[in-house]
């Protein structure tokens, strides 16, 4: 059986991609912590992972060359956060503490994902070199 690097990386690669997207969303929330009317958003990791595993993305079927290409992927799981405080006076629903913790948590999990990938790469290197230095 041939070694498939794509299969080796596949799962963790997708997980890291979602983690990066989530990090971006959370950074956006934190940057907009004082923007009136801004609604905090987040990515549901579980749902995103599920849809990433089931061959990510939804494409429009094109039966003619003139049809417009349409595809949607990744950020479909982007949802608004349910605020702890319904009314803050300016319509902003960002809770900085919650966002910071979530950002930190997400960052740590990203690093954990990197460790997994690192382990896979190390294993593969060992397999290639036959355990010799």
């Amino acid at each position: 059986m041939a070694i498939n690097l794509d299969k080796l990386m596949g799962f963790h690669h997708k997980a890291l991609q979602i983690r990066t997207d989530r990090m971006e969303v959370l950074a956006g929330n934190l940057a907009n912590a004082n923007t009136p009317g801004y609604k905090a958003r987040d990515i549901d990791f579980q749902k995103a992972m599920k849809s990433a595993q089931q061959s990510a993305g939804h494409n429009l079927t094109r039966t003619h060359d003139n049809h417009i290409k349409g595809s949607m992927q990744g950020t479909g799981e982007l949802q608004f956060r349910i605020p702890n405080q319904p009314d803050t006076g300016d319509g902003n629903t960002v809770d900085v503490q919650v966002e910071r913790n979530t950002f930190l948590d997400n960052g740590l999990r990203y690093q954990a994902g990197m460790e997994f990938l690192n382990g896979k790469i190390k294993g593969m290197k060992k397999a290639i070199s036959g355990g010799q230095q």
């Binding site: 971006e24 969303v25 950074a27 923007t35 990197m114 190390k122």
Partner: protein, 140 residues
């Protein structure tokens, strides 16, 4: 690579908060700038933030940047004081003081500096993760 976007977002947050700090500094500095007419008096300035919409073309980014829409002058009434002996008083003996609420400005300043700090931390975390990505697969 969207890690760069995280950096971008954090930096827009930082620059927006520094505009806010700037207006606060200017308000506090001018809190006692007396003048002799209504129009010439300093009025408290405030930055207005808005979430930047994603570009319509190209791929959609999940996070949104922040931008400063503009700076508005407060429309609160000025403090008019009767003080005929003041060198800046008008012909009726009134002086005009800015509508700056110093306590409000101090609270604003703390909020802005906290928000700035948060954005710095976001950028810092992103940098650390970047480093790790660059080291991926290195070493035995």
């Amino acid at each position: 690579m969207s890690l760069f976007n995280v950096m971008d977002i954090a930096s827009t947050g930082m620059s927006a908060q520094s505009v806010r700090l700037n207006t606060t500094a200017s308000n506090v500095a001018n809190a006692n700038s007396v003048s002799s007419s209504y129009d010439a008096t300093y009025k408290a300035r405030h930055a207005v933030f808005a979430a930047e919409l994603n570009q319509a073309s190209g791929q959609q980014n999940p996070g949104s940047k922040v931008k400063v829409l503009g700076i508005v002058e407060s429309s609160k009434p000025l403090q008019v004081e009767y003080s005929p002996g003041h060198p800046m008083s008008d012909e009726n003996g009134y002086i005009y003081k800015p509508n700056v609420n110093v306590v409000e400005e101090m609270a604003n300043m703390m909020s802005a500096s906290k928000a700035y700090e948060t954005n710095v931390q976001v950028a810092d975390t992103t940098k650390r993760i970047f480093r790790r990505v660059l080291r991926l697969g290195q070493g035995q």
